[in-house]
C-alpha cells in the first residue's frame, strides 16, 4: 500500500461532490428502523393482537356457556396489555444522545427489566389461563346427559361433579406451569427477539472489551 489511510481519506474528500446528501423524502412518515422504534412497533402490534384475542375469548366462552370464565380471561389479557403499554412509555426515556456504550446499556437494561417484570406476571398468567380454559370442558361434561351419567356412575370421588383426580391433575399441571412459567416466557421471547438480543449483547461485549483493554 503506497498511501496511508489518512492520505486517502483527506484526498478523497477534497472533491466536494463526494459528500452529496441524499434527498429526504417525507421524513415524518419514514418507517423508523432503529431497534427501539422496531420494538415499539412490535409491542403495539402485540398489544392490538392481545386485545382482539381478549374480545374473541369473551364471546367464545359466553357461547360455550361459561361467560364468567370469558370475563376472567378478558381481564387477564387486558392486564397484560396494560403492563405492556406502561413498559412502552418507560422505553421513551432512553436518551439517544448518550455515548454509544451507555445508550446500548440503557436499552439493554430496559429490556432486562421488561423481561424480568413480564416473567413474574406470566408465571401467574399462564396457569390462570390454563385453569380457565378447562372450565368450558367441565361445563360441557356436567351438562351433557351421557357424560354426566358416566361420571356419576364411575365410582370416583367427585368434587363439583368432576372426579377429584381430574382436579388434582389440573392443579398439578397448573403448578408446573407456574414453576416453569418464567422459562416458557423466556423461551417464547427468545424465539421472537433472540437474534436482536444477541446482536446487542455482542456490541456491548465488544465495547466492554475495548474499555478494559
Amino acid at each position: 500500500m503506497g498511501k496511508s489511510i489518512e492520505t486517502i481519506w483527506k484526498k478523497g474528500f477534497l472533491d466536494s461532490d463526494s459528500l452529496v446528501a441524499p434527498k429526504l423524502n417525507d421524513l415524518y412518515n419514514q418507517k423508523s428502523k432503529t431497534i427501539i422504534d422496531k420494538f415499539k412497533r412490535m409491542m403495539k402490534i402485540n398489544i392490538y393482537v392481545i386485545m382482539v384475542f381478549a374480545f374473541l375469548n369473551l364471546g367464545l366462552y359466553a357461547a360455550l356457556g361459561t361467560p364468567y370464565t370469558g370475563g376472567l380471561i378478558f381481564f387477564l389479557f387486558m392486564g397484560v396489555c396494560w403492563i405492556s403499554i406502561k413498559q412502552g412509555r418507560t422505553m421513551n426515556n432512553i436518551d439517544a444522545s448518550l455515548n454509544s456504550y451507555d445508550y446500548l446499556k440503557s436499552f439493554n437494561s430496559w429490556l432486562e427489566m421488561a423481561i424480568s417484570n413480564n416473567t413474574k406476571v406470566m408465571r401467574f398468567f399462564y396457569p390462570l389461563v390454563f385453569l380457565a380454559s378447562l372450565m368450558p370442558i367441565v361445563h360441557a361434561l356436567k351438562t351433557g346427559e351421557v357424560t354426566n351419567a358416566t361420571i356419576l356412575n364411575s365410582g370416583f370421588h367427585l368434587v363439583y361433579g368432576i372426579p377429584t383426580i381430574t382436579w388434582i391433575i389440573a392443579l398439578v399441571t397448573a403448578v408446573l406451569i407456574f414453576v416453569f412459567g418464567g422459562k416458557i416466557y423466556k423461551w417464547d421471547v427468545n424465539l421472537a427477539y433472540g437474534r436482536i438480543f444477541r446482536k446487542i449483547e455482542n456490541m456491548i461485549a465488544e465495547m466492554e472489551e475495548l474499555r478494559n483493554e
Binding site: M1, G2, K3, I5, E6, I8, W9, K11, G12, F13, D15, D17, S18, L19, V20, A21, P22, L24, N25, L27, Y28, Q30, S32, K33, T34, I35, I36, K38, D95, A96, S97, L98, N99, S100, Y101, D102, Y103, L104, F107, R195, I196, K199, I200, M203, E206, M207, L210, R211, N212, E213
Partner: protein
C-alpha cells in the same frame, strides 16, 4: 422536522452523517435509509442536547448510535448480523465516491466490526482520543491501542489494492 432545522442544524454537519452512514451500509438504498433515520433521530433528540459537548460531537453520537442499532431485515444484507465474519462475496463493491482509493478504503472499513468502524471514522475525522472515547463510551488510553490494531487490519485489507 422543519426545513429550517435540517438546513441550520444538520446540513452544516452533513459530511459527518454521510461518512458514518456510508461506513455502515453496502448499497445506495441502505445508505439513504440510514441517512434519513439519522436525520430523523437528530431531530427527535434535539431537546436532549444540553451543550455539554459541541453540536458536531453530538451529531456524531446520534449518527453512530443510530447506525450501530439499525438492524435491517434484508435477505442479502449480511452486514448487520455477522460483520466480523462477513464473507468477501457479500461485500457489494461500492462506487459511492469519485475517488477509487476512497471507495476501497470504505470497502475495507465495512469489513471491520461495528465498533471499530466508529472508532476509525472518528480518528480519520481528526477527533482526539479523548473525544473518541467520550463518544464511544470508553477511556482514551484504550482508543490509541485499538486504532493501531484497526490501522494494521486496514493495511492488510488494502494491501496491494491501492498504489
Amino acid at each position: 422536522m422543519s426545513n429550517d432545522f435540517y438546513r441550520l442544524s444538520i446540513l452544516p454537519h452533513v459530511a459527518i452523517v454521510i461518512k458514518i452512514c456510508r461506513a455502515y451500509t453496502n448499497s445506495q438504498e441502505d445508505f439513504e435509509d440510514y441517512y434519513q433515520e439519522v436525520c430523523l433521530q437528530i431531530w427527535r433528540s434535539k431537546d436532549n442536547f444540553k451543550e455539554q459537548c459541541e453540536w458536531s460531537t453530538w451529531v456524531y453520537k446520534i449518527s453512530l448510535n443510530v447506525c450501530l442499532t439499525l438492524l435491517k431485515k434484508k435477505k442479502n444484507n449480511y452486514q448487520n448480523f455477522a460483520s466480523d465474519s462477513l464473507p468477501e462475496e457479500a461485500i457489494v463493491e461500492s462506487h459511492a465516491f469519485a475517488d477509487e482509493s476512497l471507495n476501497q478504503l470504505f470497502d475495507a472499513i465495512r469489513q471491520l466490526s461495528e465498533v471499530d468502524r466508529g472508532v476509525i471514522l472518528l480518528y480519520l475525522e481528526e477527533k482526539s482520543y479523548q473525544e473518541i472515547a467520550d463518544i464511544i463510551g470508553t477511556n482514551a488510553n484504550n482508543i490509541g491501542v485499538r486504532i493501531t490494531r484497526i490501522k494494521e487490519r486496514l493495511k492488510k485489507l488494502l494491501d496491494g489494492k491501492i498504489n
